[in-house]
Amino acid sequence: MGRLLILLSLFSLAIALVLIFSLSGFVRDRAVHQLARDDAQQTSKLVFQSLYSAMRKGWNKKEIAEIIGRLNENFPDLKINVYRGEIVAHQFGEMSGEHAVITGDAALRTALDSGQAALLFPSKDSIRYLYPVIAKQECLVCHTQSHVGAVHGVIDITYPIQTLKVSFSEVTNTIIAYTLAVMAVIFTILYLQFRYLRTLLRELKSANEELKNFAYVVSHDLKAPLRAISSLADWLSTDYAEKFDAEGKEQMRLLISRVHRMDDLIDGILMYSRVGREKETIVAVNLNKLLHDVIDSLAPPASITITIEDSLPTIMTEPTRIQQVFQNLLSNAIKYMDKPEGKIRIACSTEGKQWKFSVADNGPGIRQRHFEKIFQLFQTLAPRDRVESTGVGLALVKKIVEMYGGHIWIESTVGEGSTFFFSLPRTSATPISTSTHGTQA
């Protein structure tokens, strides 16, 4: 997976480089040519104007040479030539009377015949600009055998573009270099992050695997001797019943009860470790129905009334897990109830994108300094001999709620009761109609 990612990024980098280079070359050439053409156009106009005034006095070769000499001095980069009709004809076509007829290059002929300038690219490093000198009406005074629009001469400017190209390339190369550097840094960071994540994932996988093995070891290897102790203690107290006095019998009873407690603790660890490890199918769970089932299974004593105050939503979740949440919260409220008339109220409201559930009781309440502790594994507030408890329930509830992206908290007044709140993301759009008259359970 990692290797594939590296290969892919290298491949895309190569493609990007080729694209950037060919594109930048293309863009550069276009820009350089445009620049050169504009420059040549300007220059040739100047040349033409200088020459034209000379020509009006008649084509004097010497004068023209002087003008060209001066122009070449002014524009040292340019190679300027002026051809008269004969030379044009010699180079590009043939003479017809006093003017040249272009027969060679078709593009040049079209350009010159229509009186437009032509741009030629004789080599990579230069462009050649041909500016036709076209006969006007006034020219015909002297050039009696010509006609308006005939090509009488050509101003030929060769323009070196290498320096332009180089300076352009420098700019684009700098941009490309910076882009590449930035890309390299980004790729390196991405790669490092990927490696870090992969290591993390591997560690997580092995930790998970270890937890699974651990749970397996606990369930098999710790329970087997425990069962043996339990059986042997049972047989001892049956087979040797007459040999035990009252104290001995009490000790055997305590021994067996501790074995049972240890068995419960092991079951608790297993249950706790299964949350998130064993996935259940996520289905729509009608909490009204689920709660009635939970309350039925808990069979609360007649002195305790459980009220569901709001109509509860149907949520998308793992049924066993949400059942464990309510079952533990309710069984705690029932188990620790210290009032002759116990009242447990279940409520639900929407808060933004979350459901907020609450289970409130009028039991003994919990001191604020214990608020954190009660959610930790194996933590109980009463001695285990008084209230048989593994201290797994609330830790399990917290783990389940947080696994689903919610959180759990408690509000309590000592002597008056406690309210456990937990939130869950609203996974289903079932609206809750807040009924004023609660449902009696």
């Binding site: 069962r227 059986s231 049972d234 049972h260 068995d263 297993l270």
Partner: protein, 138 residues
């Protein structure tokens, strides 16, 4: 058990668990002889020896050395001569994976060994009652 003279094959490595099964069977007056083998391999050797009578039921532990319960099931359930002998898994494992593997391999039942001996007697009583009523191919 419906057939009282055929042996019960108990594949179990824990000595106290063997004692527990024997004691529980005696307590509920099951008279079938109990043959104990310590692991899957030993049990297979016993089953494939023609001198031995085929058991009416196999009580199988899962967590054993050399050849565990699942591996034993994979062999037995692919053996035409052995695959019809009902196998009841008796294990400590409450793992979903073990239950799925066992039933995939056609076990007749899956019992979690309770820590409490009294409860274990009840488990054995139920197994006996069921296999007294249920017909089995001869």
């Amino acid at each position: 058990m419906k057939i009282t003279d055929k042996p019960i094959l108990l594949v179990e490595d824990d000595k106290v668990d063997v004692m527990t099964v024997n004691r529980a069977l005696k307590e509920i007056h099951v008279t079938n002889p109990v043959v104990n083998k310590e692991n899957g391999e030993e049990a297979l050797k016993y089953l494939r020896d023609s001198k031995n009578e085929k058991p009416c039921i196999i009580l199988l532990d899962l967590n054993m050395p050399i050849m565990n319960g699942i591996e034993f099931l994979q062999v037995v359930k692919n053996d035409g001569l052995l695959k019809r002998i009902p196998v009841v898994v008796l294990t400590t494992s409450d793992e979903q994976q073990d239950k799925m593997s066992s039933f995939d391999l056609g076990v007749a039942g899956y019992m979690a060994k309770p820590v409490d001996y009294r409860q274990f007697v009840e488990v054995m009583r139920t197994i006996d009652a069921y296999w007294t009523i249920s017909e089995v191919p001869q």
